[in-house]
Symmetry: C3
């Protein structure tokens, strides 16, 4: 099963009429009409409403809400409402609340507050999901099921500890295997009974927080277990839905690069992926591009839904800047350019009270249709209508892959040494950014992905190398491709144990280097790195591996410290291709320089690599039509140099091949390329 | 009942002879004599002394202490001693200790450590207060009762949770009303039983601390409840005292701008206000002025007592600077200038051990009378003696009011969005500072105050607008006055729900503006604000509201970003007066410029607005005599321009009208103005 | 009993073959041979191995490990293995885990995790130590016993609370004495029953962490108690060992300047001292010198063992820099220069998994002998072999003593006021550094040490003055010596109560000054200090005492603030000598200037005071031979000016008296001085 079938890109978002008297609903739909909102996500936080007591279900209000949406001809993404449990449930069954990393059993409050291992929660969440599916499955307006909400966090209660032990038994079968995997002989930790194993927390193996652990093995496995435990929650509800609704696709809203959940392990269980895009800063096009591509990669390139984005401001940050005029539109089109087949907002009408009352909304507290934000929403609705089905189901034709790996993320960041300052996301983002600046389409894929279709595979901070990955990477080079990796890669096996061989472990033959020692320095210290090709020096920071070439050619060398003159960047001939290795934390210019060399070696080039704020992205529709998205992230207009021509689907204007054309500040063009 | 009747300004402070052998008492009184100390606060931490076991009271030592003070002719402010409970009480009744925000039940330690909802604590604290009143009520030396000490903090135990539920039942009567007030439909929080409601803490609705809550409604109500619960403790003791002492006034020492306690709700229950002045920095005259004026405003302008100040240094800060020579005197006179009818210190003799042994004291560990500090204390004693009763009962003749509102403080700072960096105290202080720099007498009053006597009402960060406040502010303008408010005002109703109307809600008609959106930026970003009158640009930071004038005149505009050219400061004609609105976080110069315009419109001007360190304050004695206090906060002498003349009560010198005169570094003059 | 008798400096370190299959052991010993590793520390974390269940001991593996070491002719430092308890123990007896400062009972995890007061832990740790001693005592290869590991941390459980009450009863006998010592009358804390006393923690007397306490007395005593409780653990095991091994010396590895444990109180119970040298930065020769000298001072100058150091990098820091080439050698020789009679590493082979897998090791994961690190280790092995027994048992001939006092450390840092920014280690280090830069040999000794052999006694931050210390310091001056002390000295007695006399208390007569008041400022503020001798101004920061000379001569004065012109440095003639006093936080140049004056007054001068990176240290062997160690801490070669001559024991080169000679970057010479 795949994405919901729709005639055009679904447009709308989270809508909570249960918070309002019915006369407000009428105003809402009048405003939805004027903004061409055709899709509403309903019921995300309705558990207390639909099940006001353990033995009572009451669908009076939800029936009305669904009926109203149907009556107005909207498509519905219907939620099970289990993202927050009701107060009565926490009182009747305290086990449903979580115990935090500090060992404190919480009491009723907030949302995303359920212990994933609680038998009561599992039973009742599945039950309510089943009831909702049973009741609304045959409504044609319901085009998708939305399970839970932004799964995440962690629990450390006794039920979770018991669940963890069960999970470990399944994984290791014997305590001997577990003791070996966790290297428990170190610090006298040999377990002689499964029940001796505790959830790793501030009260057991950790100090200074979740990243500082005495035993990486137990912490890594708990991260895996917790991701699996929440996946089980999702699967509980999905199974309950499936009993009543065999054909309507099921999703849950992901959060892009979200560390606690290994979305790659979840993806097979979703019919389609969806995610909520709240970038950490108000200037983050590459971060969003990476996140979109990661989401698209979850289901092998299948388009996804943009389930939430803010129409104007967030409220949850310390400082919540306003999206500049045009930015909401630009970012919406960026999502589509990277594979989104829906554009949805949180929230349609601003809540009156509680923690999101100042979160941006399509309709504000005064219910106006003449605000700037509403006008921009309406204008985008018009554009999406104009696009129609042109982009639906379209795929990205990438020759470059970037590996993203939760296991590497986890093990890199829970590692003691060499540097707590190296952060997985930042390393990955710097390599993605270099590709983005080069204007290259990229598939962001799991380490288990089929790599045979790519010319270039970039594997930054590939800390863990597991399964046959090393061989598959070698195969890429063998047949003429390039594999690019960097410092702190190839360090640990699937259990986070060091390889008993030279660093970078199984990547050694491909990279043609050996690393006996590594230096780490504070962020104030930079070591200049000089390229052999005469390009300007880059600066390296944080971690500096000392490379002993084992066949690799030296492309750049350190310029300072006792290892001045030794290699910082190398390229190793391997089969018909190469292994490239960056041994230190290069600055963005340095990473960009290496990445361009790799791309050049394969003749892969984006169109306008020298316009730093101009993003380009291609999608190929099921009928073979090629769409080219041009996105200007600058606050100034830009002149786009001559390229292929095509029809701008947003304006109807035809771009002549070989003729430069303009793009407004924050401007967007969607070109249906000429054949 | 009002302030204790005294022939002159009471001078002295907290005195703990119970810590010393009796031979030391003799030395103390000899030193008190030489410093003209006439008043001692006794018994602030004597509960363990006067009630050494649950069934035993023992007044032997306190009798001796009181007798010694009487014998030396001192006036006594007698404490009930309940600021810290005894160790035996915590052991016998663990319920008397607090459970903190993190959910941890504390055990015996520190002070201000009692659960306000503990029945045992309430019973025994009232009992000991009653016993003390019974024993000492007829001693003429006892001129005031000092209940508890610096009430504050919070408790989250089961007794408090139960108390909270009771408080809520009384406030809301029905769960429907409560669910509406807290907007519980959001995030599925509908309460179906009062017992489902938990105290909002780190274990329930909060993350990242007391300001980050999922539901502002419950957090706001808990703040109100906790303030009320401690007020009940005060009232318990006061009632017990009153049974034996019908005529002696009762107070407790407040802490100025102290967030946890809504002093406006407490004030009616005190016979007179008193407070402890420990400014956060060693250069804070405007902060102290605001605090004094707030304390004076608690009981409608009635003078207050300065119950504590440090003679030299504090000890509780990370860095404890020494008060420069003259500063203790200057700050003491500042208190009197703003309405203090007593000048008291903490502490008379330095404790030998524990956490305040290095806190400054009138008498140091060596018992010397030849230290700089002692000499300055003695000199001030002489001056106060010279002043006699001249200032007692005098009132401040202010035409300007500044609104201070705990509800606005709380709701502004627990709000999610737009910016956690906006702090209520800082915003209020910036407006007060502008008035202070202009040399204007200000009444700092609650939002319920009678505003009919003021020409100018300044309402900074008036986040919550409740009751008939909007109408009363309109009335000020209607009759020709000015009301000045600023960004983030008029946002929420009494339940912290957004007004379902344009921002600034009920202030909209008076301000003549409408705000659909607002931007927030980090502190490093400034938007220049240009005034139409050609004065220098100011800088705005943190929050920037986008103003759509609805009749208001534009006084200043933003100069940067997409909203460059739109209004940042406006003035709306309303009746015979005006509503003034500052839409962004202006710097001090900008606030000062707006405030001066407002004052100028009413011909209100302080005397020496251009001498930035020269403070002036007026008081009018009950007999109509007008006192003018001149305070030089600079470390250099200053020449005061010609003004009204008068007799300097401290030196006997006569200042000729129209003739300039000098003021020493940190100098003070108290002029009895010529008629 | 003293140090183990060995023919040369033991060389090797922590070795954990239990983590590896036996075929790896063979490789290890081959590598040990090539690096001249002659000593291995075995069994540090083997409790779970040797006692796999409460009723079962199993020495199969340890027997093999010991046999293998013996077979290869190594000397063994054999550990009892109790630094981490087994998982089965925590499950069977939860009391063995600790309760932390926040009041949270921990569950199984980490290491150094045992409650020192747990009867079960005490019984079983002594039992396993006894079993090991019984089994291996007669093996001649076992030359030392290593009890526990890096004792430290703290526990706040009920067993510890009960233990604390018992400790207090023994110390104070009566509650009256305790109430007086803790000054409990302050804040109503009078204890009327021993069981009312709680362990001082975040749940009782503390806020903001372990340094912020309402009652310094209880916190100080708990620090003392906890240090004693862990000492009792050590003594338990030592006694168990002694029952089977009367003659083999016993130690435990200390951590240099480690605040929680008062090593001076432990030292008499160790046969010899040993410590683990992990300097906080990668450039810290003076810090290491101080630590070495402190360790040497524990047992009155007896040499100690360097039990652990990293061959290359640590892993436990946020940033773990690599030791530069030559640095490991240099620091090893520095240890020997300061009195180390062993040079041992952690770790011999890098663990495969868990938190120290990236910690530097002699043998890396690939098992190589051709890494830089291995080669340096092997080269040092060769040098130590060349040295032979020349330095064993040698003593440092110091004329200068520096007092180091845990009680002063604790009370200074738990004090409320005047400044939390003053840190004991930093103050002490600045005075030590001045001596180090002057090239002077220093004994770092407890306040109870015999001072009669020193010309100069430096007592920085001697916050507490107890017993007859003041008299003994006076005796130093009396007979012509110099005593140098500084601000915040002489403040409290043994109970942390202020002296009821002028500051600096009992040091007043010797220092000839009186201090009535003190200022404190943030680190951004500096007061210039001008010396009377025309040398350049120094800067003072943080704390500024205002000195009233009582006979002392003024050497330097403040230049700013209201106390400009008053004394900052003084010298008081006392008997035939002097008391020197530095009243403020002078910068390093200022401290250096004062210290040089003191040294000059006694004609004490190091050899090369103007080569800032050249360290010199002397040791005198039992046969009277004088060894001079020259250590170049600079990354550049240095020319050493002419001095006494001698034979360089490392090269065999003879240094001619009166002739300059060279030292490589990070170079070392060990001169056997000519007679």
């Amino acid at each position: 099963m795949s994405l919901p079938a729709t005639p055009s890109t679904p447009y709308g978002g989270d809508y909570n009429p249960e918070q309002w008297p019915q006369e407000v609903w009428k105003q809402d739909y009048r405003l939805f009409d004027s903004a061409r909102i055709d899709t509403v996500t309903l019921g995300v936080f309705t558990w207390a409403l639909t099940q006001p007591a353990e033995e009572t279900y009451d669908f009076t209000v939800l029936d009305r809400i669904v009926a109203e949406a149907e009556a107005h001809g909207r498509r519905i993404c219907l939620a099970t409402g289990t993202g927050a449990h009701p107060a009565w449930l926490a009182r009747a069954h305290p086990e449903v609340t979580r115990t935090d990393f500090e060992g404190r059993r919480h009491r009723y409050g907030q949302r995303h507050n359920s212990c994933p291992s609680s038998p009561v929660f599992r039973r009742l969440s599945a039950a309510v999901a089943g009831r909702i599916a049973e009741r609304y499955a045959d409504r044609s307006a319901v085009i998708a099921w939305h399970v839970g909400n932004e799964y995440g966090g962690a629990c450390y209660c006794e039920n979770c500890t018991a669940g963890f032990r069960g999970w470990l038994r399944e994984r290791y079968a014997t305590l001997d295997a577990l003791n070996t995997a966790w290297n428990t002989t170190f610090w006298s930790h040999t377990f002689s009974d499964w029940d001796e194993i505790e959830a790793p927390s501030a009260l057991t193996e950790h100090w200074r927080g979740p990243d500082h652990t005495a035993f990486q093995g137990i912490t890594l496995d708990y991260l895996r277990f917790m991701s699996d435990a929440m996946l089980a929650n999702f699967r509980d509800e999905k199974a309950a839905i499936r009993r009543h609704s065999p054909d309507t696709p099921v999703t849950t809203n992901f959060m892009g690069m979200y560390r606690p959940i290994d979305y790659h392990r979840w993806a097979p269980h979703l019919d389609f992926a969806s995610w909520d895009n709240y970038p950490p800063e108000d200037q983050s096009p590459a971060w969003m591009g990476l996140s979109h591509d990661l989401m698209r990669g979850l289901k092998d390139g299948q388009p996804f839904w943009l389930m939430e984005q803010a129409p104007s401001t967030t409220a949850c940050r310390d400082v919540n800047p306003l999206k500049r005029p045009g930015v909401m539109r630009l970012w919406s089109w960026q999502a589509v350019a990277h594979g989104a087949d829906a554009v949805l907002f949180f929230q349609m009408r601003a809540s009156r009270g509680a923690s999101e009352k100042l979160f941006g909304a399509v309709i504000n507290h005064a219910g106006r249709d003449d605000t700037r934000v509403f006008r921009e929403v309406a204008a985008l609705g018009e554009e999406l209508e104009r696009l129609g089905s042109a982009a639906l189901g379209a795929r990205t034709p990438a020759r470059t892959a970037l590996l993203f790996d939760w296991d590497s993320w986890w093990t890199l960041e829970i590692s003691d040494g060499p540097s707590r300052l190296v952060r997985y996301q930042q390393v990955v983002l710097s390599y993605y950014r270099a590709l983005w600046e080069a204007g290259v389409d990229v598939d962001v894929v799991p380490v288990t992905a089929d790599l045979s279709r790519y010319d270039v595979v970039v594997a930054p901070a590939l800390h863990m190398v597991k399964g046959d990955l090393a061989q598959r990477l070698e195969a890429v080079a063998e047949r003429g491709g390039s594999v690019l990796s960097c410092y702190l890669s190839g360090r640990v096996d699937e259990s986070d144990n060091a390889f008993l061989m030279d660093v970078p472990g199984p990547l050694g033959p491909l990279m043609g280097v050996r690393i006996d020692e590594w230096d780490a320095r504070g962020p104030e210290f930079a070591n200049p790195v000089r390229f052999g090709d005469g390009s300007p020096d880059a600066e390296a920071r944080l971690v500096f591996e000392l490379v002993v070439p084992q066949g690799a050619e030296v492309l750049a060398t350190y310029q300072a410290d006792f290892y001045a003159g030794t290699p910082a960047v190398t390229r190793n001939p391997f089969g018909a291709g190469h292994g490239w290795y960056v041994a230190a934390g290069l600055d963005q210019a340095g990473v960009g320089h290496v990445v361009r060399q790799v791309l050049d070696a394969h003749g892969i080039a984006g169109r306008h690599p020298d316009l730093p704020h101009l993003e380009t992205a291609a999608r190929v529709a099921p009928d073979g039509t090629r769409l080219l998205f041009l996105l200007n992230h600058a606050a100034e207009p830009v002149e786009v140099p001559a390229g292929a021509g095509g029809l701008d689907l947003l304006t109807g204007e035809h771009i002549t091949p070989g003729r430069p054309f303009g793009l407004d500040a924050y401007g967007v063009r969607v070109l249906r390329e000429d054949d």
